[in-house]
Amino acid sequence: MAYSEKVLDHYENPRNVGSFNKDEKNVGTGMVGAPACGDVMKLQIKMGDNGIIEDAKFKTYGCGSAIASSSLVTEWLKGKSLDQAMTIKNSDIAEELALPPVKIHCSVLAEDAIKAAIADLRSKQGETMDAALCRHGH
């Protein structure tokens, strides 16, 4: 399979690999995919006091395109508000990395991971503000 230069670059030099403590209040964690499907992405965002994502980290079990998609979005997420982050679309990722049609699902998974991480963070923040009222199980 031929990979684009950008995919190869992210695969060879992945950005922001690692983990934050998922129990911290200002950390949102999204884990999407399944081992049997060949892709698992863990994306974490850390929010600053100003409501802006100050850092992001990932770990991905998957093909080169999955690694590149998650590596790319950690770069894009930094400096964005949660609302801005929600606007990142899988088509933007696929276009930036020149993913072939059979690898579009990798960009979909990366978008899902962003949404899952934001949902996790919002639910935590919601709990902080409204701990007694909001207790949806995770």
Binding site: M31, P35, A36, C37, V40, T60, Y61, G64
Partner: protein
């Protein structure tokens, strides 16, 4: 360390032609180009003599009579001729059931499937988790109407060696013809057809340092095995397989099998030492699984799954090695290796497997380089892997409820 990359560790896919073989072939392309079927002049006689000498060499490696060797275009054709030829010839008298193994090469599986389309019934016996066949299960799978059983001597993916003496004796007792695909076995395993209870055996030249496009089928004479020809024409090869003989290819196969016979003992000892070194080096990595039994196995093969790394990214990581992978992404099919699945390996482990096959021209430096490369790359991919992180934290990944996508 200076090694030329990519390092070729895919000798079970094909081998280079030994320079001694190539040298012997060349005059039969240019100078001695005659048709061995030409009986009226010396061009034909010279070609025929070369063909018969090669037939003797092939027969000698497997202790058969030269009259029992039929030239074909390769092991795929030999398998087709043996299985379809015997099933068609004996089906009416013995019955219409074929027994084979789920881990056979596609050239056998698909040939049996074709016979199913023609009205035969077939059983595909699952091997044990080590890749070997349970004799009792094999015996139970033989039916009164089983006309033919087909079992490969050496598996192409995991290198395990089946006990064809035991299996052949069970076939004999049942009045079932026994075909063995030995494409991966020549020069690696001693084959003695004088004593083996085998009726038909397929061979290939290019797995044993001969040229591609030539193979042979052993057809037992005592007791005589008959086949319905699949290729019709001038009645070459005593009617078993028509078509002008490719003399240069045949000469190459004969020379390759001569070299194998004379050098296999020393060569296998050297290759076993390299394979064991590779095994020792790679098993220092955590969470690796050898696929297939290690004892009943040719010295050339090592098939290993690396847990918690994904197959396609693994193949990207080892682009300096020419190896085969159980990963779907490297082949045209989307399924992981059906051989590893038949051993009960999970999809993940089947995907993240690598087959290393070592051969005549593999060096110790290449093995050292391979070990270091794998250690570094597996380490890097695991640093990236959330599954590895979960495993390190003591989380049972199989107990996690994953959302399938």
């Amino acid at each position: 360390m200076t090694v030329k990359t990519p390092i070729y560790l895919d000798y079970s896919a094909t081998t280079p032609v030994d320079p001694r073989v190539a040298e012997k072939m060349i005059p039969y392309l240019t100078e001695h180009f005659g048709n061995p079927a030409s009986r009226s002049h010396s061009y034909g006689w010279t070609a025929e003599k070369a063909v018969e000498e090669a037939r003797e060499q092939v027969a000698a490696l497997v202790k058969a009579d030269a009259k029992e060797i039929v030239w074909t275009s390769g092991a795929t054709e030999s398998n087709n001729l043996a299985i379809k030829g015997a099933a068609h010839f004996y089906g009416e008298s013995k019955g219409h059931h074929i027994l084979t193994i789920a881990t056979e090469h596609k050239a056998v599986i698909d040939t049996v499937r074709e016979l199913e389309r023609q009205g035969f019934s077939a059983s595909y016996l699952e091997p044990e988790a080590d890749g070997l066949i349970d004799f009792e299960k094999f015996k139970a799978a033989l039916r009164p109407d089983t006309v033919l059983a087909s079992v490969m001597l050496v598996n192409n993916e995991i290198g395990v060696i089946q006990d064809i003496t035991a299996l052949g004796n069970l076939c004999r007792a049942n009045g079932t013809l026994f075909h063995v695909d030995a494409a991966q076995a020549t020069g690696k395993v001693d084959i003695d057809l004088e004593s083996l209870p085998v009726d038909l055996m397929s061979f290939s030249a290019h797995k044993t340092y001969g040229p591609k496009g030539i193979g042979a089928l052993y057809v037992r004479r005592k007791p005589r095995v008959r086949l319905e020809a699949q290729m019709h024409g001038g009645g070459h090869e005593r009617g078993f397989r028509s078509g002008t003989l490719p003399v240069h290819q045949i000469v190459g196969m004969g020379e390759a099998f001569r070299i194998a016979r004379e050098e296999m003992t020393l060569e296998n000892a050297r290759i076993r030492r390299l394979r064991d070194k590779l095994l020792t080096g790679l098993t220092t990595i955590e969470e690796v699984y050898v696929n297939g039994d290690l004892k009943a196995r040719v010295p050339h093969n090592l098939n290993i799954s690396f847990n918690f790394v994904e197959g396609e990214s693994l193949i990207m990581a080892v682009k300096d090695l020419a190896v085969s992978s159980g990963s779907a992404c490297t082949s045209s099919s989307l399924e992981p290796s059906y051989v590893l699945r038949a051993l009960g390996r999970s999809d993940e482990l089947a995907h993240s497997s690598i087959r290393f096959s070592i051969g005549r021209f593999t060096t110790e430096e290449e093995i050292d380089y391979t070990i270091e490369l794998l250690k570094a790359k597996i380490g890097k991919l695991r640093e990236l892997s959330p599954l590895w992180e979960m495993y390190q934290d003591g989380i049972d990944i199989n107990a996690v409820k994953w959302a399938a996508h």
